[in-house]
């Protein structure tokens, strides 16, 4: 019973922290550009505003357009239940493993691409086609990179992978782990629409990917999509943090272990946010036709990770 309560608390915590994480990255980037920047709580204010605004729908939009934000949000929240954020093992470990996580994320991407095509606007279709190109290249890398860890743990269950690395700390510096981390970091940048694949700060129609699909959304629909995107970013950060550096994750459900787990999660999120902000200051956006090269490089890294963890088993 406490396990289920913890699951609910974990998802609520993730939902509450997600906009703040986006705000933190924006604030760090602003400071790196020598700007004062918006306060960290800005995304919360934007979500509040969007939830209270009117919804304008295109006359060409069908039910898919209206259903998509809910599918995207629900599938991302469902992933939040399956990813070990605070403690292992969790009761939901039985429900789904790494494959479920990967394809729930893809379900959201798929519906968002459909919603981009649905109202028949020119930029929406362009965004959908680009998103599918990126997703098709990034999704196998995501799965293969985590397989490299699953091979050592003997299970595709995310909770068990975390438990295995905690039990055997040396595994965290094995070549399989390090290569998989690099591969997953690149996939994270592509999947969450960050530089050098997509630029979350630009609004130039010709270069955007994620934003082109949501151009037709307004009001609470847009709020749901933005919130889901922030949650996806937090989930990827938590995957990177907890799968590769699992220390701090609670193994027992005592209050001290859990408060330590919350603290460790916050530290990991801030470190990864700083890494992304510094990385985005340093690199320029890649030309769209160069993106597959970057993603195939990350796929090769993931493949090497699996090979090395298979050979060094």
């Amino acid at each position: 019973m406490t396990g289920f309560l913890l699951e609910a608390a974990q998802v609520l915590l993730a939902l509450a922290l997600a906009p703040g994480l986006v705000g933190l990255i924006r604030w760090m980037k602003a400071r790196l550009q020598n700007r004062r920047g918006a306060p960290v709580r800005q995304p919360y204010l934007e979500l509040r505003k969007l939830f209270r605004k009117e919804v304008v729908l295109s006359t060409n939009a069908s039910w898919i357009f209206r259903a998509a934000p809910f599918v995207v949000f629900a599938s991302t929240v469902a992933v939040g239940f399956l990813v070990p954020l605070l403690a292992v093992p969790l009761p939901f470990d039985e429900v789904g493993d790494l494959l479920v996580v990967v394809y729930l994320l893809l379900l959201g991407t798929f519906f968002l691409a459909l919603a981009g095509l649905d109202p028949g606007s020119a930029f929406g279709g362009m965004g959908s086609s680009r998103e599918m190109t990126v997703a098709a290249l990034a999704e196998p890398t995501l799965a293969v990179a985590i397989f490299a860890l699953a091979l050592g743990a003997g299970s595709t269950n995310l909770g068990q992978i975390v438990g295995r690395t905690m039990a055997d700390p040396l595994a965290a510096v094995s070549p399989g782990h390090l290569l998989a981390f690099a591969a997953l970091f690149i996939v994270m940048l592509a999947e969450t629409g960050r530089l050098p694949v997509d630029n979350p700060a630009t609004h130039l129609e010709l270069t955007m990917i994620h934003e082109a699909m949501v151009l037709e959304y307004s009001g609470r629909y847009l709020a749901l999509i933005e919130w889901a995107a922030a949650l996806k970013l937090l989930i990827f950060f938590a995957l990177l943090g907890n799968l590769f550096v699992p220390w701090g994750v609670a193994a027992t459900l005592t209050p001290t272990a859990l408060s330590l787990a919350v603290g460790a999660l916050l530290v990991k999120l801030v470190v990864l946010a700083a890494a992304v902000a510094i990385f985005e200051t340093r690199v320029a956006k890649l030309r769209l036709f160069r993106v597959p090269e970057l993603l195939s490089a990350s796929f090769v890294l993931a493949l090497l990770a699996v090979t090395s963890s298979f050979l060094l088993r």
Binding site: R31, R35, A38, L45, K49, V55, L204, T281
Partner: protein
Amino acid sequence: MRLFAKILKVGLVTEPLGPGDDAVVRVARAVEAKARKLLGRAVAIREVDAGSCNGCEVEITGLMSPVYDSERFGIHFVASPRHADLLLVTGPVTRNMEIPLLKTYEATPDPKVVVAVGDCAQTCGVFRGSYAVVGSVDAIIPVDVFVGGCPPEPADILRGILTALDRLPVRKGRA
């Protein structure tokens, strides 16, 4: 590494927003208190060039620069009128831009605010009477605040937007 050394050496360059000249900003229609409260801290702007000479656009680009940094007030630009709360309209409205301007206004979800930037948006400027021009911006859509100048300074445009949202004067330049 040289890039980060430079970032450290330069430090914050954002300038505090001073009081400025009152004559530049003219309130045509007070925005409802409810809308002001809702949009107060988070405003998405869609820029509409209704036929301007692009002088105003050059100044508007300055809003996002580190010196004027509109983001510190929660003001940012978006790519679609459906995401927008505030329309920033420039130029005398030309015959070709009359319908697109109306459509943009209709595509923007309520509550919405319109700020007309530049002398042309108020009086049509040197283009008044031209066969290609329909009229000033308020002849086509309701305007809340006019910002004068040819072109207006970025700080004046910022003041105009903040006046429409009733957020002046700002504290310590951050609001």
